[in-house]
Amino acid sequence: KQQPAESAQQPSGGTTPPAAKKLSVGFSQVGAESAWRTAETKSIRSEGEKRGVDLKFADAQGKQASQIQALTSFIAQKVDVIVLAPVVETGWEVVLTQAKEAKIPVILVDRGIKVSDESLYTTLIASDFVEEGRMAAEWLAKKTNGKANIYELQGSTGAAPAIDRKKGFEEVLQKYPDMKILKSQSADFTRAKGKEVMEAFIKSDREQIQAVYAHNDDMALGAIQALDEAGMNPGKDVTLISIDGVKGAFEAMVAGKLSATVECNPLLGPLVFDTINKVRAGESVPKFIQSKDQLFEQANAAQVISTREY
């Protein structure tokens, strides 16, 4: 018989629980739709194992309702801490109120939520998607001297990273009148779609394509393949920048095909568990812990590539 929580005792505020009891953490993950996502899952899981935590992992298969179910059952199982990677920003009030009533601290990872009462969660550990978009745009402006015809490959329609990365990027473009997004299409964050959409762009506007901005690396990698097949030198004739910084992107930069990538670090495991320990020890933590995002170019790609795990 599985024992989700040996004692019915509730963890209260700052008191450390008896040493005999394993720390139990419920982690509600969005799903496994991208390399980035699975890297994040792996990081949290392996860090949990390393620290001997009883980690309950719930894959929501991309559905908020499943996440809420997961949270309610975590609450029913009386876990010590809940870690939530929210699939969307809205709609968390009710269930987080329940968690608060049960005195279970909630730590958000990789994306913020919109709630009227900030005390519903303890802290947010994440990257800033809008900032990523800004960084990409600034770099591109510098690289092309503020003049470029840009083709954008968007993430899934309506998804928060897609919306924010577009927003940040466009914000910066305002400053550069000669940088224009000529076409922008959703490629669902996937390599196959990225390739397909890029092919369509090439067929219609071959001569005008100067730069490509992809909301994630997978789509950029697909686009590179399409450009290669069309005999248009990616990385030289066409400047490509994308976001995430997965291993494949570094390989492409080393090969001179991808121009730059903005890292959005998924390896949040250590940071998450450090924060959990702080919270349980009663230390105060900031409301927003930004994980370090960094821009990598072809020049420094080769040094970093060996350290890439995902």
Binding site: K1, Q69, V88
Partner: protein
């Protein structure tokens, strides 16, 4: 015919559900408690309300793939009207119900008038409505409105408002299916369209009404979703049509139409909820892949068990 024989699939489903619930209760602590069961009801209420509408469609021999999209659309519309236009909650819900019902009725009319298969019409409907929802508002909308919140936290005894809505829908739908001429016409239509025409039943009205009902249920589910999530969401409806169809069919309703019941759907919804929750949350440390494999396997096990029980009960019934 005995009660047993007549309701055999539903009873077998219920029995199979109890067996699986018992296994889960033996395996996980605290599973066998009222709050956990209530959680099943409220967590699956949105799907359940959609599935109730879908039951009528499938009983009539049709199918409705647009429900998930209509559900999201209606939740987004409600959020949009409340937040961007400061509409009253009830007015916003009313508007979304009108839209959902009208969308359903239009699809029903297209199906009836042109003879295009429901699968295609409602698939097109799904694309259309999803596009429409994005046009209204690209992002999901958080709803913070005192009246809305007041409703969202309503409870009747242990039952939260979404669970309450779900049970009400089941009860009303059961009544409509069994005691009203409309309900019986739906069964007749599914049992034989040509025969229904020749028997002089109002086939056109019935068909249009069936899709309108489904649209109504889907948009009501959208309203329930806003209470459940306090937001209008694009994401929740994706793939919901398949879940809804699955719950209806594992509830014993024949996809060919004419045979089935609303209670079967209730069991189907609870069953799917049980499988998903126990696998994804109680079973704990598993990979996403294994989660899916386990969900599929359990679903199959349930269907097989139900088949087996049906045969057993039928055999026993005939012998006596």
């Amino acid at each position: 015919m005995s009660f047993l024989r007549k309701h055999i699939t539903v009873l077998a489903g219920l029995l199979a559900y109890i067996v699986l619930y018992a296994i889960a209760a033996a395996r996980y602590d605290g599973f066998l408690s009222l709050p956990v069961f209530v959680n099943f009801l409220s967590n699956n209420a949105v799907l359940g309300i959609v599935a109730v509408g879908m039951t009528f469609v499938i009983l009539s021999g049709g199918i409705d793939l647009s429900v998930g999209a209509v559900m999201s659309f209606s939740s987004v519309l409600i959020g949009f009207l409340i937040m961007d236009y400061q509409w009253n909650v009830f007015a916003a819900i009313g508007a979304s119900l009108v839209c959902g019902t009208a969308l359903g009725a239009v699809m029903g009319a297209i199906i009836h008038k042109t003879g295009i298969k429901p699968f295609i019409v409602t698939l097109a409907g799904m694309f259309f409505v999803r596009g429409l929802a994005f046009i209204i508002h690209l992002e999901s909308i958080a709803i913070s409105d005192p009246k809305h919140t007041a409703i969202a936290i309503l409870r009747l005894g242990p039952l939260p408002v979404t669970a309450l809505l779900f049970l009400t829908f089941v009860a009303v739908a059961w009544y409509v299916a069994v005691f009203t001429p409309f309900g019986r016409n739906v069964y007749a239509l599914g049992g034989g369209e040509e025969a229904s025409v020749l028997m002089g039943l109002p086939v056109q009205h019935t068909r249009i009404a069936v899709y309108a009902v489904s649209g109504f249920c889907a948009s009501f589910a959208g309203a329930a979703l806003t209470f459940y999530l306090s937001s209008g969401s694009h994401l929740e409806g994706v793939g919901m049509e398949l879940d809804a169809i699955a719950t209806v069919v594992i509830g014993g309703t024949l996809l060919a139409g004419g045979v089935g019941s609303v209670f079967g759907t209730l069991i189907g919804v609870l069953m799917l909820g049980l499988i998903l929750t126990s696998i994804t949350t109680y079973e704990g440390m598993m990979s996403s892949g294994l989660t899916r494999v386990a969900i599929g396997a359990l679903l199959l096990a349930f269907v097989m068990l139900q088949k087996l029980l049906t045969r057993r009960i039928a055999g026993a019934g005939r012998a006596t």
